[in-house]
Subunit: 335 residues, 2 copies
């Protein structure tokens, strides 16, 4: 039986929405969670929702705050996040879900749960929507300064994610750069390019910024600094565009009516675009699935994150990733 | 009398739209251009538009193609772009406008026109729109691998651009990173931070990706690799969003009607958002204004680019920049 350790104290709506998310995952999907956090608070919510013994609670008296330095989690050994991570490390749970302090979740993923033996570093991957489907961008924040070998590993991680989770066969892999031609880019890109070319990945060369949302590649690798600023800039661009359009709409009555009529279509689009809403962001390459959700995750988002963690397990993602790391890397890098 | 050298052969609609843009700038703004390119073709267009001797032509028999390696321009000494750059270098023109091969225009700006003595490297700056106004992001592509000193210079360039061209007093300057707190970021950011802190700029610390379109900073500096991928990703995100919303709208009649009603408001927004349309992108810190417009620039865009080049001159941008480089930098970096 698969069991996902859920940090019930992390996130803007913890513990209420987190616990409710665990209940939804159990009722709708039949996936069991280990609820880690303040036992009394969790039990109260479960009781109110008509639950008794079906879901197991692991008490944790401390909480990592959203603005705490991430490394604090390694000292706060009674925090819900630390304990949840330890349950996974010790084999008592099969994956971790948290809506808490992202840096702290990453720290637990990297240093308590740890990464696959074949990997030096796990990476955060996001499946960004585009008109044709999805493109996996990684790393978006787990590794700030990277070496060519790391980017090569990210490419294999992204390949495996695209194949196993997004069902894309023989995914087209690119490296993010500032021009299409080989030889364009910064030092890191120039050094990584020949390694990718020598691999057995379906490497298609440099991807430009414009390829991220164009669907021209299935997987695009970059260092975690670049990926992180792109991801956050994209989010804020979305907000800014909506805000500026709203201001223009307010200037005309016809436009206001138009906005009402178009709203359902916009909501459908938003659902498709908000990758964080349906299932959070995985730390790929950790020994067990680690899913980081948005701080403002509600019950549904938590349920979806638990579902994603479960999916990584049932698709044997890590086994496939290990195989691919042995099979797809060029000989000189594997050693 | 100010005269702007215009590369009439560069761009998707050259020479027709470029020449017409020069005519518009002369008729509407009273700014004179030097029209560089195929003399016969240019003269034909001028004649058709009822112009004779008012605008001077400088013949150039060769053209740099859009897909040529940028460095070719240094060998093609009879190309319109090379000759236009040389006219500026030799003081026969006061600025350069081109809709041609961006890399080649950059090459001319950096190596033929050259940068201010106080600067090691010029930078491309864009004034990105946000709900509160504009934020200058630089460098977005002139310098791929940067040192802390370069980013510090970019900050002074951005400060000067915000003050002199965007009329923002004491602009808030940030350095792009992956977290707000000092100490967050890659090696380059960590090394640059103390230099910015020691400067006399209004330095407000780390900016995150989300700050780019939020209006929380007036100037954000980053290396040209990061800035370039962000800029291109933003453009492609815009296209992808519009495409995906259109698809949703097509599914419902009411939404289709709504889309028609909202269209004028959307067009107003587009005009505000399309920074490249009104005036192109400046290479800041070159000895004379160099304005790079979109390849698909039409006559109006060219007119606006000529206007922007003129503005840099009438605002004495370079003099202010030189002053600021002497005044605002920390002592140890100035030397």
């Amino acid at each position: 039986m698969i069991r996902i350790a859920v940090d019930c104290m992390g996130g803007d709506y913890a513990p209420e929405e987190i616990v409710k998310g665990c209940i939804l995952a159990y009722k709708e999907l039949g996936i069991e969670s280990l609820l880690v956090g303040d036992e009394k608070k969790i039990r109260d919510i479960l009781k109110r929702e008509g639950f008794k013994e079906e879901l197991q609670i692991v008490h944790a008296p401390e909480t990592i705050q959203m603005n705490e330095p991430p490394s604090n989690v390694l000292k706060k050994k009674n925090s819900s996040l630390y304990i949840a991570g330890k349950l996974v490390r010790d084999g008592l749970a099969d994956g971790l879900v948290s809506a808490g302090n992202t840096g702290a979740v990453l720290t637990v993923g990297k240093f308590i749960i740890g990464s696959l033996e074949e990997l030096e570093r796990p990476a955060i991957g996001v499946a960004l929507p585009n008109p044709k489907g999805k493109t996996v961008l990684l790393d978006v924040g787990a590794n700030v300064d990277c070496k060519p070998k790391h980017l090569l590993h990210f490419a294999v991680i992204g390949h495996t994610y695209a194949e196993e989770i997004l069902n894309i066969k023989n995914p087209k892999v690119g490296i993010l750069s500032i021009g299409e031609e080989e030889g364009k880019g910064n030092e890191l890109v120039k050094e990584t390019y020949p390694l990718l070319k020598a691999s057995r990945l379906n490497f298609k060369g440099n991807a430009e910024g414009r390829d991220i949302y164009a669907g021209t590649f299935d997987v695009i690798v970059c260092d975690g600094f670049v990926g992180n600023v792109i991801l956050k800039a994209s989010e804020s661009l979305g907000f800014a565009v909506i805000q500026m359009i709203k201001e223009e709409v307010q200037k005309s009555l016809l436009a206001k009516i138009g906005a009402l009529l178009i709203k359902p279509a916009l909501n459908n689009f938003k659902k498709k675009a908000d990758f964080a809403e349906y299932g959070g962001i995985p730390l790929l390459g950790a020994k067990k699935p680690v899913i980081i959700t948005h701080g403002r995750a509600n019950a549904k988002a938590i349920k979806n994150a638990i579902k994603v963690a479960n999916e990584f397990l049932t698709h044997h993602f890590n086994e496939r990733l290990s195989e691919n790391l042995r099979k797809l890397l060029p000989q000189e890098v594997k050693a």
